[in-house]
Amino acid sequence: MSMPSDTPSEVKAPRLRLNIRLALRLLFRDGRSGKLNILWVSLLLAIATVTSISLFTNRIQHSLYDEASHLLAADISISGTLPIPEEWRQRAQEQPLESANFIAFRAMVFSEEGMQLSQVKAVSDTYPLKGELSISDQPYIASQKVKHGPPPGVAWVAPRLFDALTVSTGGNITIGEAEFSIGASLNKEPDNRSGLFGGSPRVMIHLDDVPRTQAVQVGSRIDYHWLLAADNSEIATFSEWLEPQLGEHHRLTNIDSANRSFQNTMARARGFLLLAGCLSVILSAVAIALAARRYSKGQQTQVALLKTLGKTPRDITLIYIVQLLTIGLITLVIGSALGWLLHELLLRLLTGFMPQGLSKASLSAYWVGGVTGFVSLWAFAAPPLLALRKTSPGSILREQSSSALHAGWSFFIGFMATISLVYFYSQDIKLTLILTFGALACVLGVGLISSLLIIVINAILKRTQTIKNDGSLSLQLPPQIKLGLTNLQRHHKFNVLQIMNFSILFLLLLVILTASTRLLDQWRDQLPPETANHFAFNIYPDDIEAVSAMLSDADVKFSPFYPMTRGRVSKVNEDTLSDRVKQHKGRANYRRELNLTWSNQLGSDNKIKSGQWWQEGEKTEKLMVSAEHEYAEGLGISVGDTLTFSIAGQTVSAEVASLRKVQWDSMNPNFYMVFNQAPLDGATGNWLTSFYLAPENKNFLNQLARTFPTVSLIEIDQTIKQIQEVISKISRAIEFIMVLILGSGLLVLISSIQSTLDLRFQESAILRTLGASRSLVRDSLLVEFCTMGLLAGLLASVGAELSMYFLQTNIFNLQYVINGWAFVYGPLSASLLIGFTGWMSTRKVIHTPPLHVLREV
């Protein structure tokens, strides 16, 4: 006889089409019978959750970015003491970029009743490019938002000026030679980041009115600002072109460098959102892995049968590839749509809590969920399903289940896929590594420890038997406890895997819970309600006592006084500053003047990163300096280097004694350079302090300004309010996301408990046929589940605290404080949850005749 050909005569369709048709038919039938339900649900849930979280977080991130650009009133700002060169303007027009201009100068503002040195800001029609101005008819009342500044002839003045000049809206003021009608109280500017010498109250006029005032003369100190906005790539191209030409007179500020305190807040917000997203990705992967394992187990008989019917291993592979592709595509479409709906629903539910008019999500946010689902499907479901091609057709005769894929390989593939997904999602190698090694340590550690714990249980059980025999103190356990513990010990390997599974799921849940409570609390606490919101500087040494007395009398909390002078770094060792900037490609503007101070005490929000802080009272002839570490890194400065400063026209050198990490968002006075003594002989400098003033006490500023006319004041209460608003909005959003993830995590936990019930059902049914009472079976199962929960909870708590330590110290830059209670409520809640779910699921075995259970299992 001849060998059978590839296409026997009875085969009416080509092999490929035949297999595709068979694959789809089998899939449809599996779907109809409910076999695929768990896989469908976990895939849909995974794609929908990740898509919704990704859309939600992406839109919030974009809004944060927009909000940050509002702080600059533009995407970038070029400012300087000389007018902006025409060549730059032309280039910007060619690109084209949106632009606005303003100039700022100090001038005396007069009314009939008084006068006040003010900071005048003369703005063009298009100012601000981003964000809005807040004005009101009267000072200190609710504001309305407007898109642009005042028209020519009108001045908007800071609330404080109404009192200081004894004027009201509609009244007149004079700036230089020009008269202006007061149009409104100017309550908020998007870019009000008053530099340290911009402490006088604000008056905003139109740019066209400047010549009329004649206040700007040759030699006047004027700051020219040029604001630009466009999409990111346009801005990047322009910045790249402009930066080398900036020179000493101009500086470029972008969103990141606009406001350091805000930048930290934003970075943490991004970190939280990223963590939430990553955790949802991991949970989804776990859910899909569990569902896929169950599904592929159920496919073994089908494969063996198909093989007896003549399907080749190649056919089997093709059939499962077609099925996986179909499942993947269907869930991708439906899951993404569900995710979009869910995120819309979230936004509706959160109306009023979230920033209004959230920005659009980027396109990538739409497919992050789909990619997660698709990759998880191929990483977790494909290996065991595709390995079914090796199923021996003979296994159908012996009714044995053969695991065609080595568990180690499954784990490896799944683990690598999860890491790739987390990296794909976060694009953050550090976060990915922390989560990877954390997870690896957990898997290994938990496996080892749970083995040990079961050995201990075994020992306890043996003890209850042996002690009885030699007549000594017998440790009697009630039968249900003994049976429960025996079960636990009997399925040693299976239970170690179970406990590992539960612990890791519980660990994720605990991290989510802890992150949403502890981290957010700490974050909010960083700017406690009475954070200093005003700075007073230019305080003469002789006035320190009087100023502090006035603050104390008014019951105002204030920080210590710091001396302050201005100066530039001119040399690092023998290198000129320009050389260093070129060598190290530092991005900050190092040529600008810095605020310098000297102190014996290290600020509470400063930490020494390298070198040593000088001891209090340590007298040294040598001038020493402590530099802020990021600034130092940008210029390649290290401890022991010599810095040359140019201060008030004089040159002084100081040795770098230490590098400090400064918490800029503490709102305390902080400096790039702190000397150990006054850098110039006999220089006492001006002094500086910060204090908290409640909104209703704002008038105190006027009293202070009148009593000490030379003292300059900066109001940063609006900036603090903005940061607090962002923190509170983001906290709410994150809490909501965490609840969502927590919900899906619990579902995964419950389904993983249920997936392991078959074996227990079978044994319990056998016990019942042997005459065990319902209560004995129920209680022993309860003991077994609660003990497993207790062990898993204990391990998860340890793992969660370790993860929190790394997350808090490495990702969020927050202080780690151990929470002892976590080791109590972790194991207890895990025990209760797993015990309860197990008990609920085993009701079937208690109330159904044992024969039915045995038939179904």
Partner: protein, 229 residues
């Protein structure tokens, strides 16, 4: 084409060993066997004597450690799994002790499965004809869970004959059924076999079932001997 003068199944010195904790266990010890087309053969023997293992080897579900198995003169031991699959699709059908119906498929879909595997365009019509032959046309849309043991085995018989293969291997076809149902199933099996003129190789414990076959072979400790009927 099947040549009526040739052997349908032939083995030469088939031996099989499986690894155990202490070394290896010889399950089949030099089996030589010839079965002609259309013959009905029963393999009897005690539990664990190697009957089902031999059945698996004869059907190409497994490969012996040594020796050769020929199906219609083709040495299936020389083929890889892909090749054996193709042989099975053309020559072999099965009836199992525990029915092995797919739970997610109803009765007619279970019978349609081999026809769909072959790409038959009129799978549903043919499957219904076979279900009628086993008297289950009324229960065509019931799932295995909703059928009794006897009904499930009738569906399995319909599925096996729907393969329209020249050989049917039956592994304890009545082993999971009571005597009365078992006897009905064996009646059905033999009558369908006679109608289709297929070669039937069955493994059984039941002397009654074995007696209905033309030949009886006994497995004893891995060795096969002809029982004179």
């Amino acid at each position: 084409m099947i040549d009526g003068h040739m052997t349908m199944i032939k083995t030469q010195n088939v031996q099989h060993e499986v690894p155990t904790h202490g070394g290896s266990l010889r399950i089949l010890k030099g089996i030589d066997l010839e079965i002609k087309p259309g013959e009905t053969v029963a393999i009897i023997g005690a539990s664990g004597s190697g009957k089902s293992t031999l059945l698996g080897m004869l059907a190409g579900l497994d490969v012996p450690s040594q020796g050769q198995v020929f199906l219609n003169n083709c040495d299936i031991t020389a083929l890889d799994e892909e090749g054996r699959s193709r042989i099975r699709s053309q020559y072999v059908a099965f009836v199992f002790q525990s029915f092995q119906l797919l739970g997610s498929l109803n009765a007619i879909e279970n019978v349609m499965l081999p026809l769909e595997v072959k790409g038959e365009s009129s799978a549903a019509t043919k499957a219904m004809q076979y279900l009628e032959r086993v008297g289950l046309q009324e229960r065509a849309h019931h799932y295995p869970k909703q059928l009794s043991g006897g009904e499930q085995q009738r569906v399995a018989l319909a599925r096996a004959f729907a393969c329209e293969a020249p050989i049917i291997f039956a592994d304890e076809p009545t082993g999971n059924l009571d005597t009365e149902t078992g006897s009905k199933i064996s009646d059905l099996l033999f009558s369908m076999n006679a109608e289709s003129n297929t070669t039937l190789v069955l493994v059984t414990h039941s002397p009654e079932l074995a007696k209905r076959c033309q030949r009886q072979l006994e497995m004893r400790s891995g060795e096969l001997s002809e029982v004179s009927v």
